[in-house]
């Protein structure tokens, strides 16, 4: 990157399945104000505004225009980004590129979703090809169910293992005041929840949330002058799967699928050989429990086929050796346009030591985040506390 980039502030709304008390602009404004307060800035200090959400999830297009007042974008340069579930992370990366290029010094990035206003499943079915598979489309649950069935058969994992992921997420969420599903549940509760698509039960899936997240990215001078705890944006990578190629649902595939390609590229950039030791915390995009176990493997935190051992041994708990999603993750909160940005923001909070009750009990110098979206692509970021390591 041409210039160093830091996260100098951020904020989020609380997340819930009902936010009838606010409209989209009022909800987004909650996150924007929180981010400005955190950075001790006003809108006058912001050079450009990037906004993102899922196309048409709220039943209206061009949310960047609709919300120009509430986002603070009025009279400023900026743009709207939509890349599916990855959008929040794409915005962080785009914001970082705008700062790194020297074009702007302070960029506000915002991701939001007010799912209650639209029909997410109906819009998602529009992602599927009209003549090639749309009649089977309708929800992400089926895809992750196939991944889970494939995982169980290949490696001998059981439903109890995915249930452990579900419990970890919701117990962590209880420590996060902004999380949606703060559930005091046990493995038995998960296994007793309704079967949606074998082997995925209700508690194996993420909720439908409303909420927003905003972050402020800045150049090195601004960061050092104005921010006590800047978090450095060290690297990012994006990788796609091929359209129509469904190989990723077979967990034994040896093909270069998006998640593995992206991790490889990011690790090469940073010279990471042992990611489980290099990074102190992970915030990953797990729409379903089984996806988390597969992420462990695709990120190289363990050998292939051993992801379920990590959860079994408690290694990815908040106080484990490899903490994954101390925030409660996507399984606890999924306001889609905000979700991938929340991964980055929660990772930044961990590095600052400001995560409160869900702060991992160790020094956090490096964090890794992932995103998940579209017809399978990911955006990963790496953050650090210090620039000189």
């Amino acid at each position: 990157m041409k210039r160093k980039v830091a996260i100098i502030g951020g904020g989020q709304t609380y997340h819930a399945s009902r936010r009838h008390d606010v409209n989209q602009g009022e909800m987004v404004n909650e996150a924007v104000r929180a981010a400005l307060d955190d950075a001790q800035m006003t809108m006058d200090d912001v050079d450009a505004v990037l906004l993102g959400n899922m196309e048409f999830f709220e039943g209206c297009h061009m949310t960047d225009c609709w919300l120009a007042d509430a986002t603070g974008a009025y009279g400023k340069p900026g743009l709207k980004i939509t890349t599916g579930g990855t959008v929040g992370a794409t915005e962080v990366v785009a914001g970082a590129h705008h700062v790194a290029s020297g074009l702007f010094d302070r960029v506000l990035v915002i991701g939001f979703e007010k799912q209650e206003e639209g029909d997410s499943s109906a819009i998602l079915s529009g992602v599927a090809h009209p003549l090639y598979g749309r009649s089977l489309a309708g929800a992400a649950v089926g895809y992750f169910a196939m991944m889970g069935a494939s995982y169980m058969q290949a490696y001998g994992a059981r439903e109890e293992h995915s249930a452990m992921v579900a419990v970890k997420a919701r117990q962590n969420a209880r420590k996060n005041p902004y999380a949606h599903l703060k559930l005091d549940i046990t493995i038995q509760d998960v296994l007793a929840s309704k079967m949606l698509a074998y082997p995925i039960r209700l508690m194996d899936m993420c909720p439908t949330s409303n909420g927003a997240c905003a972050m402020i990215l800045a150049d090195e001078k601004t960061a050092k002058d104005r921010c006590k705890k800047p978090v450095w944006f060290r690297a990012a990578e994006t990788a796609h799967n091929e359209q129509f190629e469904l190989t990723w649902r077979d967990v034994t595939t040896t093909k270069p699928i998006f998640s593995r390609v992206c991790a490889d590229k990011l690790y090469k950039k940073l010279g990471v050989e042992n990611p489980a030791a290099f990074f102190d915390v992970f915030e990953i995009y797990e729409p379903a429990t089984w996806a988390e176990l597969v992420w462990y493997e695709d990120l190289g935190l363990c050998k292939r086929g051993e992801g379920f051992r990590l959860i079994e041994e408690g290694k990815t708990e908040i106080n484990g050796a490899i903490p994954v999603n101390p925030s409660g993750g996507v399984l606890s909160t999924n306001a889609i346009g905000a979700t991938a940005m929340l991964r980055v923001w929660e990772a930044a909070l961990q590095i600052r030591g400001d995560a409160g009750e869900h702060q991992v009990p160790k020094d956090v110098n490096w964090a890794l985040t992932t995103a998940y979206g579209g017809t399978n692509w990911t955006v990963m970021t790496a953050l650090s506390k210090e620039w000189e390591d």
Binding site: P130, S135, L136, G142, M147, S150, Q153, K194, R249, D250
Partner: protein, 157 residues
Amino acid sequence: MEQELINIPMVVDMPYRFAAGCYLARFLTELRDNGKFFGIKCPNCGRVQMPPRIVCAACHVKNGEWVEISHEGTLMGFSIVHLPLTDPTTGQPHKTPYTYGIVRLDGADSFIEHFIEVEPDIAKVWVGMRVRAVLRPREQRTGDLNDIQHFAPIGEA
């Protein structure tokens, strides 16, 4: 006094006309008229991709040779769906429970996703199961992936 909150229910109904393009159109007309599956082979890496498409994404080259694909293949993943998901093309919910999966047809590198005609019982379906495409009768085929009725196990399940 509590503020009254207004929420207005609305429906967006949007007609549109989808162009399949020359590659997919040829695939769908072969399926509809002749009951055949075709893939397309990358001149560089040799992968046979189905449905056929203009570019091999991995090699960034134009795909060339059309290759006929078998009606038989191997189940590579499956789920038994209990949630009454709506079929977006009809607006009606699928009858649950049903099994669907991904199949690699012999001769293709791609997977195809479809209904699997087995009892919705995890003892009756597994990764590696051999299956065969069952097409709708010619007069019912319209040039859509639904011209395949489902995949059925080959021989004794």
